[in-house]
């Protein structure tokens, strides 16, 4: 699975490179700006989850994840290879984004957000990347919550995990 994803990313990167040279407007887009856009989408995801607009919030979370992946691809395609700078932007935006999304979720998610933030600081201190994929987990639980609405027992359990605990 990981190999396929890596192959897909490198194919996307190769496809993006000629586009960057052909369209000067795309060249002007900064990778950090894309990260910023993913952070701008986070309050929208928070509001949608608060309103229990589950499908819309899943789509917004997917857009956030896509933008998150895109910033690294754009940076590499543009030849910006200072990985430490990129890592800092990426990790700080991700942690704040998780915190914003967590505002609409239960205490267990907030606890995991805090743990993740601690892990990010430790990663910076010891130069080893260790993060819980919290937003991925949130999407999976939200999809299950959306699809299993007819099965009341599982649905109420997921409702408790997402909003009550």
């Amino acid at each position: 699975m990981r190999v396929y994803m890596a192959k897909a990313f490198s194919a996307f990167r190769l496809a993006l490179k000629p586009m960057l040279t052909r369209f000067p407007l795309l060249k002007r887009i900064d990778a950090n700006m894309i990260s910023g856009l993913s952070l701008v989408c986070s309050p929208i995801a928070y509001l949608l989850i608060s309103e229990r607009a589950i499908l819309a919030s899943i789509i917004t979370l997917f857009i956030i994840m896509l933008l998150d992946a895109l910033d690294g691809i754009v940076a590499r395609a543009k030849g910006e290879t200072n990985s430490e700078d990129g890592w800092m932007v990426d990790v700080s935006v991700d942690r704040i984004s998780e915190a914003v999304i967590g505002l609409a979720l239960s205490r267990i998610f907030i606890l995991f957000t805090i743990i993740n933030m601690g892990l990010a600081l430790l990663s910076c201190r010891y130069r080893k990347h260790a993060i819980i994929p919290l937003r991925h987990a949130t999407i999976v639980i939200l999809i299950a919550y959306y699809l299993l609405q007819s099965q009341s027992a599982i649905f109420s359990l997921l409702d408790q995990i997402l909003f009550q605990w």
Partner: protein, 156 residues
């Protein structure tokens, strides 16, 4: 972002994200939580008056990710005693860090790293930044007033 902008953004998240919790008291609590992080700027006021801006160096560790970690931990602890009050604090704290990261150069991992991060969504020129801040603040203010009016808390 300026202080009024922080207050507006935090209250926007409260009014549209948790409308059942909105009351004058909760609005005040969220407002206080949203600006309390800026207290570390006080010692740099004199320099800021001259340069007309707070630089990223004026932000202490409590204004970056370690501060957010502490603020979120405090909010979570409060949530076990009063879920609503804890969430109000959380909204205030998180909104502040979000808006600062979006609009200002910050050092998210300070004191572990001095590297400045800027997302490029706001201008760096002082004049343009002031105009940008004012426009964003006014837009948020208008949306907030509409939201409060919709909640019946404010009659226009």
């Amino acid at each position: 972002m300026n202080t009024v902008g922080h207050v507006f953004f935090a209250n926007l998240l409260l009014v549209f994200g948790a409308p059942s919790a909105v009351s004058p008291t909760t609005l005040i609590i969220t407002s206080i939580a949203s600006i309390i992080t800026d207290l570390d700027h006080i010692s740099h006021l004199r320099v800021a008056m001259k340069t007309r801006r707070f630089k990223s160096e004026t932000r202490s560790r409590w204004h970056e990710l370690p501060g957010l970690l502490l603020a979120m931990s405090i909010s979570l602890t409060i949530m076990f005693f009063s879920a609503t009050v804890g969430r109000l604090f959380l909204i205030g704290f998180v909104s502040h860090y979000t808006l600062d990261l979006l609009t200002r150069p910050t050092r998210p991992f300070y004191p572990l790293s001095e590297k400045v991060v800027f997302l490029g969504l706001a201008p760096r020129n002082l004049k343009k930044l002031t105009a940008y801040d004012t426009i964003i603040t006014v837009i948020m203010g208008v949306i907030l007033i509409a939201g409060l009016h919709g909640q019946g808390l404010l009659s226009i």
